[in-house]
């Protein structure tokens, strides 16, 4: 399980963030001693850090700068300061991403997921059971049989794949599609899913995407 460290001094938002991350199958840790932030971070050695700019004792940007001198742990700046200057500064100090409050929780999870995907190198090709899924080429291979997915179908399938064995809501799928500049509506999502199902059926995988009524879908 991936460890994510939340550096945030507002208790209520910190608790909610921890809950969000735990629900998404991450191990969420928090920082309590802001005086020795840097040492604490190194002791915990998380896989990713969510860092607020306004933290006590040391500005988040300065902390990031110091951290980057000794470590390359991915950092997402999560802040209510939504100016271009802050963003440019954070990125130049080595932040991997920059999100402003209030953010859409699904998008935050997507961005976290994207960073982990980027770190695992050959993420363009994934295997599922005896299928080889080439996300970039939008192709699923089984033995020597090849099926071609449309861009939307591949976005849906790879999201389900990345969240295997977990119920994925329609809203999550929609957010991921919109995040990839595919601004489709509810009907189109339903159509895409049924087309994806029939394509999977062609290669003998019927019913691997189950509908959970009123909740969403799950890839078995």
């Amino acid at each position: 399980m991936k460890k994510i460290l939340v550096i945030e001094d507002d208790d209520s938002i910190r608790d909610e963030l921890v809950e969000l991350l735990e629900n998404a199958n991450y191990k969420a840790l928090t920082l309590n001693d802001f005086k020795h932030s840097l040492d604490e971070i190194l002791k915990i050695s998380p896989d990713l850090i969510l860092l607020d700019i306004n933290i006590p004792y040391m500005n988040g940007e300065m902390l990031l700068k110091e951290l980057r001198e000794i470590s390359s742990i991915p950092v997402i700046m999560v802040t209510s300061r939504n100016t271009e200057v802050d963003e440019v500064l954070s990125i130049s100090y080595g932040a991997d991403d920059y999100i402003t409050k209030p953010y859409n929780p699904t998008i935050l999870l997507l961005r976290i997921n994207n960073i982990f995907k980027r770190l695992e190198h050959n993420s363009d090709v994934v295997t599922y059971k005896d299928l080889t899924v080439n996300i970039k080429k939008s192709i699923i291979l089984k033995d020597d049989k090849e099926i071609l997915l449309t861009k939307n179908e591949m976005i849906i399938f790879s999201y389900l794949l990345a969240n295997k064995n977990r119920i994925v809501t329609r809203d999550e799928l929609m957010t991921d599609l919109w995040n990839n500049s595919e601004y489709i509506n509810d009907n189109a999502l339903t159509v895409n899913i049924s087309r994806l199902r029939s394509k999977l059926k062609e290669i003998g995988y019927e019913d691997i995407i189950e509908t959970r009524k009123g909740v969403g879908y799950i890839l078995l």
Binding site: E84, V85, K101, P105, W178, Y183, N185, D186
Partner: protein, 340 residues
């Protein structure tokens, strides 16, 4: 400085002079002085009068003429003291020193208000950052407790956030200080952020989104542009037609030395009479009054931010047909030269 007016002003000296001259004349006649001597004395006296008045007039004329015309021509007329040479006569020196004192006290007064403005602006910015924390917490809470949370709550949170942003950008747009940063920005990315932000309401309102040709880079401040586009797209959503087939179409066009970004909808449109005033402060128009409670601030702020960024924003509409907002970004040749 007009000679005629000046002479009128000096009339008392001339009158006193004539009275003295008459007295002298009477005395000379009483002592039965020779006529030619009287004429000689008269000439001397009149020459004296004319030269006294003329020398005084010429000394003052240059100073006052400069003062009057410079005050008229200057953009900021309070700076006139800096443009004129120090006068050589006492009254002028006195006037200058008084003007200087007035200027100084005025500056202090203006500075006091400027400082108050800045303090208020800083406070507003700080307050907005603070209020975003509970907003973020509420959003997370609703996500974490989906079963007990109505989606309507999220809609209301988004409304609060939109209003809060409006205040923030009003303060930023009205202020003289520069707190934006121009860099090359991908239109696709910004449009994506704005659409994602409005995703739920767009889906609920059954509006189709069509994007075309957005793989374009423009020079702007991405946060400011995001706000501007959010105002325009929010309006398109707010004033959609209540029937099927509503769409918002967003497309960019490269036009040589500039890039045109157009946001088009097939909503209820804007009255021809209202059209020229939609960017005015607090203007709500027919749509704002009938359809929705409108503050009339969104487009006003969008326009003032556009002006600061150097973008042109224009609107075109036909009632019940379409509304088309176009933002024109100029390409900076200097910038592209530097970059190469």
């Amino acid at each position: 400085m007009k000679l005629e007016e000046y002479l009128k002003d000096k009339l008392y000296i001339i009158i006193l002079f004539f009275i003295s001259y008459l007295l002298i004349l009477l005395m000379l006649l009483a002592f039965s002085v020779d006529v030619s001597l009287i004429i000689a004395i008269s000439i001397v006296i009149f020459c004296l009068l004319i030269s006294i008045i003329m020398v005084d007039y010429l000394r003052k004329r240059e100073f006052y003429n400069n003062l009057v015309s410079n005050t008229k021509n200057l953009d900021q007329s309070y700076l006139v003291l800096e443009t004129i040479t120090k006068p050589s006569f006492y009254e002028g020196v006195l006037l200058c020193s008084v003007l200087y004192d007035i200027d100084k006290s005025m500056c202090e007064n203006v500075n006091k208000y400027r400082e108050q403005m800045n303090n208020f602006k800083e406070y507003i910015e700080m307050w907005i950052h603070e209020v975003k924390i509970p907003l973020a917490t509420l959003t997370l809470m609703s996500h974490n407790n989906k079963d007990n949370f109505d989606e309507k709550i999220l809609t209301q949170i988004k409304r609060i956030d939109d209003y809060v942003e409006q205040v923030l950008y009003y303060v930023r747009g009205e202020n003289a200080s520069v707190d934006y940063l121009i860099k090359e920005v991908d239109l696709n990315k910004i449009i994506g952020e704005v659409l994602l932000r409005n995703k739920d309401i767009i889906l609920r309102s059954n509006i189709e989104i069509i994007v075309e040709n957005l793989d374009v880079k423009v020079l702007t401040d991405s946060k400011w542009l995001e706000f501007i586009l959010n105002q325009i797209i929010s309006n398109s959503i707010k004033y959609k037609k209540d029937r099927k087939g509503a769409y918002i179409k967003i497309f960019a066009k490269d036009d040589g030395d500039k890039i045109l970004l157009t946001i088009e909808d097939n909503g209820i449109g804007i009255n021809e009479a209202d059209l020229p005033r939609v960017f005015d402060k607090s203007f709500t128009g027919y749509n704002g009054r009938v359809r929705n409670k409108s503050t009339g601030m969104g487009l006003f702020i969008a326009k003032s931010l556009s002006l600061k960024l150097g973008h042109k924003i224009s609107i075109d509409s036909k009632v019940n047909k379409y509304t088309r907002v176009t933002i024109i970004f100029s390409k900076d040749n200097y910038y592209s030269v530097i970059k190469d």
